[in-house]
Symmetry: C2
Amino acid sequence: MTRKLHLNAFLMGVGHHEAAWRHPRTEPARLTDVRHYQELARIAERGKLDSVFLADGVALHGNVRHNALGGLEPLTLLSALAAVTDHIGLIATVSTTYNEPFHVARKFASLDHISGGRAGWNIVTSAGEAEARNFGLERPAHADRYARATEFLEVTRKLWDSWEDDAIVGDRVGGHYADTGKIHAIEHAGEHFAVRGPLNTARSPQGHPLLVQAGSSEAGKEFAARHAEAVFTAQQTLAEGQEFYADLKRRLAAHGRRADELLVLPGISPIIGSTEREALRLEKELEDLIIPAYGLAQLSTMTGIELTEDALDRPLPDVSVETEGAQSRRKLVVDLARREGLTVRQLLGRLAGGRGHRVVAGTPEQIADQLQEWFLNEAADGFNIMPPILPGGLSDFVDYVVPELQVRGLFRYEYEARTLRGNYGLERPASRYAAPREVAVAR
Amino acid sequence: MTRKLHLNAFLMGVGHHEAAWRHPRTEPARLTDVRHYQELARIAERGKLDSVFLADGVALHGNVRHNALGGLEPLTLLSALAAVTDHIGLIATVSTTYNEPFHVARKFASLDHISGGRAGWNIVTSAGEAEARNFGLERPAHADRYARATEFLEVTRKLWDSWEDDAIVGDRVGGHYADTGKIHAIEHAGEHFAVRGPLNTARSPQGHPLLVQAGSSEAGKEFAARHAEAVFTAQQTLAEGQEFYADLKRRLAAHGRRADELLVLPGISPIIGSTEREALRLEKELEDLIIPAYGLAQLSTMTGIELTEDALDRPLPDVSVETEGAQSRRKLVVDLARREGLTVRQLLGRLAGGRGHRVVAGTPEQIADQLQEWFLNEAADGFNIMPPILPGGLSDFVDYVVPELQVRGLFRYEYEARTLRGNYGLERPASRYAAPREVAVAR
């Protein structure tokens, strides 16, 4: 079978461009309207995309004076999308820093049941001070967050395994519902968590939800190599994309994993026109709607440099790009400005579309060329599609770019499987508690 | 307008009777099937019921060898029910003991948006040791749990108020999305929580979800009088129901609340037949399917008395019914056994149907008589309906008992409102942060 690429639709309010809410093709009042997201999920499913994905943070990030913020919590929302779709994968961001593994394991197991095996978890660790302060805490150190995340994931995996697949007997006549020998207390006792288990939700169709990760720091990459099955990443150039891809794939062996057990999905915001000129016009329309004060505040947060409107037409001030690892995005932004000799205003224009992710304006063929180049040159196993405006940018992608990818033999015409793991070509994990028994039988 | 009663359908797996999963009219494999719950919600909506409700605990309770346990997490499930219904209220149980107010406030605000104003929260405090051990904790003291719950609720209320109703300006031309003067940091700093806020979800249709409570201990009743808008309660006799009703309503004034600001909804498990004989036959069928070992374990947990099969045909051993307040259900059970002189086996039969809630077998008219008697004699503002088997017991109630209540003028023919609060006849709370401004204008 020819290798096919995988496509995830990254859903964000009325679009990824920070000025999307001001563009005539969006309706910002739909930010909290479930029908908006249901429409997006249906469009993605019509295009045979693997999954939709919702980012999240547990604080109000960004200046709501100048952007449409304050939307819905992802897990709650994804259940409502599951109800109106049949095939599309449903990936929610949930932080390991201010949560309990029992709750998170249970919610993802529930979503996996509700969706018939389409749940995915984007694991994040909540770096920001604003988030910490909503939970009575100061900002935790970067290393601590990943140590907690690793143990958190270990606990959730045990809980998902705590009911073996064949634990339910269902003998109504004999009055024997479940084989309690196949439902296990996990008795986890670690540095961060003590959890007895078992989970109080039976094992779900996928066993574990698809595990996704998006941190590109050293600690983030190690976490991904150990645990993640798909990685969302921001890479600006083919060379950077190739380097990241090779780096991540190389790390897998140390954890006993094959290269195909983790998919690398760089982000891309496609600005699509039926002609190149039309695409550039849409890009310009969005650029003209940018509010510099909003972008400056975002850039200050991202780089740690205080910037005012005086700085707009000068180059980005010199800053160290040695980071503590928490802010790999900072390095990307500073590198971008230096490489292309951008003024702050020009940099804002470049960041407004994708917050550091690649923005490509062009015809469906040109967009497909870009995806093909990265996919065939070991920079990507697929892409995280970030439409500048929603739903229009997603329906344009589905209606014009997807068919182009299909005729080139790069993308599916029909779903291969009913589960998210199945469509991503990943295995269903066995319960760790069942394994010894199976080995014994094999002997 | 004549006073109408309110009806909530308490959904529990394939039925409230502990042997429901063994009865030929149920399908226990549907326990984790979202379509089962969607069907139940649609049946309840067809009957114009106010709401459906899901209980919850964060541990595997009861012996899964002998009962169909291990279902879905309520909040995740309710979003999927919202997607296929238009009017029915959606009430989820969430504990204040092992959660963070920011997460809970956000999920309910999201569910309220997703459902168009139909979210309700049954506030529980997680008494059990099994739950504590899934969160690295010993069982907390009863008083502590309620102190935490009170502060937890205070924080969630502030967060729900943190966006005023008119905070969103939506001026696309001027680039002004929200009036940041109407989005408030809550700056909560208390004994249990420190939360800065604001919430990162805009104010929802109901402002706050409907607040429900079900504890009947002294601390529970005080909590309800202060915070709850609906109370689920287990009362066996009309006299007990009247006493509880009067007690709770009397407590409201001390908190500056009117008697009609809190609805009392006793639980009732109606075993319905088209003749009395048919109803009694169904009751007997279920009784014959009881597994004594299961009921004994439940009874031991409920009363704190270790019971074995030897004890089945003897009276319940003498125990103190002075409780620490945590176990008002214990007193109810012991009183029931004493009052009616029941053996342990007989008591198990009485508890199997509703775990201490009232069980009434009869024709639709007889069931309606019972509801009418309590409703007209100040023992109830409505009822928490606990069908012995699902979906059959709920569709029987909707198809035969509801029309009887309607012709008696006791129940609605059509929904009065689009929101859960509206149908329960309760007000929409104003944002506490908006109030001073409005007062100033009024002057």
